[in-house]
Symmetry: C2
Subunit: 203 residues, 2 copies
């Protein structure tokens, strides 16, 4: 799929144009499919993980952990699934476990990787791995210095209604809601793994 | 929701750190909720529109127009709903009509705005308005110089299967698939408008 000569662009040269405190921007010269040159500016990002944490009651009902966090570029408190950037060399599952624990205080016994999303394909290399977590136990959150967020839980219906109404507009969370809807309906079954016990069975 | 003193960050100062050919980056100093200062780097983006174009057959089946386009930052041909940036001062519906016509050649008689998504809330001001289009008529596409993409149609089931399998990983397209699924199931009915005739009824 990626070696399509009618569409593919080829790098000619690359230069770093901004190494900021947070953003790392490159400008590459590329050759378009017809051979003409063009400029491509983009952010180099280490990648990230998003977690959809399911809180299951004994009566079979499910609630989902979410966060409220002020996001300066959009100037609003946003409703999001927990997420965070990969540390250098960190495995995605380790990152998912760490971010869930740090941001919400929760640990989970069972994890399922469901897919990948690319949030900004026209100007960022960022990818976000999507994971589900279940078997949650509450604990103390350990927010980074300067990190302010609130944790709450919502029913799946509140989340879907919020996607429709505009309460939720975060792209990764909308994509996660597609997964949540299809997992809970049974259309997209998950393969759970239990990383701490090497038990691959669901609980 | 956005005036929450426990979460809100306030701008102290702002400076432009990159005015590239394409990317426009600012670094602001902000005051965190506890009063300490922090730095925020982000891209200022004009906003964009995404269109989910429905091709309805007389027998009631639906296909959806999509695009294949090489996206240099992720180094792959990506499967996407048609989308494009707002020109300065352009109304979102006008942008949606223009991008659909330029990229695919199609015009549509009926349009419905369904919501907003923010693709990269930690480092971009970008928003994407989500629109559905129906009553499509084929024509000649008018790609911008240097723009290379292929148009095809897919069944809704192919799209949902592709979201699950990883054929589709573009974030805006995954979010659009959430809308597509709920619109086609009847859960999220649309309010169609017919901009060229001022007829607000569905066809």
């Amino acid at each position: 799929m990626s070696s399509d000569p009618k569409l593919q662009e080829t790098r000619v040269s690359s230069s770093e144009v901004l190494r900021g405190d947070f953003l790392h921007v490159f400008r590459d010269t590329v050759k378009l499919p017809d051979g003409t040159p063009a400029s491509r500016e983009f952010i180099v990002h280490p990648g990230a993980v998003m977690v959809i944490p399911l809180i299951e009651s004994e009566d079979g009902t499910v609630r989902v952990l979410m966060e409220r966090q002020f996001r300066y570029p959009v100037g609003k408190v946003m409703i999001e699934f927990p997420a965070g950037k990969l540390d250098k060399g960190e495995a995605p599952l380790s990152c998912a476990q760490r971010e869930l624990r740090e941001e919400t205080g929760y640990t989970a016994t069972h994890w399922a990787r469901v897919g990948l999303l690319h949030p900004g394909i026209s100007y960022s290399t960022e990818f976000i791995e999507i994971w589900f977590a279940r078997g949650l136990s509450a604990g103390e959150s350990q927010l980074d210095a300067g990190e302010f967020l609130e944790v709450f839980s919502a029913t799946p219906q509140e989340i879907f209604d919020g996607c429709r109404s505009g309460w939720i507009t975060d792209g990764k969370t909308l994509a996660g809601a597609l997964w949540l809807q299809n997992v809970l309906s049974g259309a997209w079954p998950l393969e759970w793994q239990s990383p701490d016990t090497n038990d691959k069975e669901a609980p």
